[in-house]
């Protein structure tokens, strides 16, 4: 009788743990290596300053710094297919609002390894490591100037 009760208690414990992890970790992670531009997601998606292709690179560098410092989600724009990943952590640093390390590499072309979670239509990226940083390589200012106009010296 005692053994039976113990077995049931263990079973209940395991079930509770499974339920807990099922509920807490709703999304499954996929390991990925991504090369792309660190970017301002609000201006890119909303196109409030102009077309998405114009609010990246040097044209939009200062605005991207403003938006990152102001707490707008920072994204990584995949160079290979244009997919946007919302950056949710950078190494051990889980601050994803105005993260200083991300502020410092706004508009840079980087290659990262990390975990991607897809939840309700958005891809979220937890960066494990920045493998390469080429700096700002997207010289959009030569084509479209500076956007917005107030992001000018």
């Amino acid at each position: 009788m005692y053994a039976l009760t113990c077995k049931n208690a263990v079973r209940a414990g395991v079930m509770a743990l499974l339920l807990f992890f099922n509920v807490t970790f709703a999304a499954q992670a996929e390991r990925k290596t991504i090369t792309g531009e660190v970017m301002d997601t609000w201006c890119y998606v909303s196109q409030i300053m102009g077309g998405s292709d114009f609010v990246v690179g040097t044209t939009h560098h200062v605005c991207a710094v403003w938006c990152a410092a102001g707490g707008i989600p920072v994204g990584l724009l995949d160079k290979s297919d244009g997919q946007i990943y919302m950056i949710m952590s950078n190494g051990d640093d889980t601050t994803n609002v105005a993260n200083q390390a991300l502020l410092d590499i706004q508009s840079h072309e980087i290659t990262v390894e990390g975990s991607v979670y897809e939840l309700d239509g958005i891809k979220y990226l937890m960066i494990d490591k920045v493998m390469d940083d080429k700096g700002v390589t997207n010289l959009t200012h030569k084509v479209v100037g500076i956007l917005p106009a107030e992001a000018h010296p």
Partner: protein, 180 residues
Amino acid sequence: MKNMKIIFSALSIAVLLGFSINAYAAKSWGVTNEVKAKFTGTVVDIACELTGNCPDNCGAGSRQLGLQTNDQGLILVAKNLTLYTGAAEELYDFCGQEIEVDGLFTENRNVRFFQVQNMRAIGGKWAKATRFHKAWAEKNDTKPRKAKRWYRKDERVKTIIERDGYLGLGLDKDTEYFGN
């Protein structure tokens, strides 16, 4: 004359009432695939939902927040009402609570997220999503009215521009492009 006074008073009240209702209705920003929306959801820390790493109080402004809804899943709240600012500062006080929000969805290139313009606890009073200015002013020891153009004064921003220039390519490239 008495009738005129009554009509004038009634009209004034109607205008004031209309204004106070409209003051908390979402306004268009002309964003791509814009949809005005008012809905309820529970304020959650997105990284916590994904990984189980959950600081107190949804990170108290250090974590991107979303609204967990019954019918639309998890909605990322990317923006508030002030210039160049996100929504974490507006929402973290409501961590774990169901709130009502009014604002805009924008959708483009496979991403759909929300700009909160007004919010309230269920049954509470509406407030505009402009708390960022107050929070920035407190952190920078100044008055909220002086925080409207915070992005011109923010020390983190100034340091980056002084180091990397307006193009992000270094000061020499700035001089080449903008002149002295």
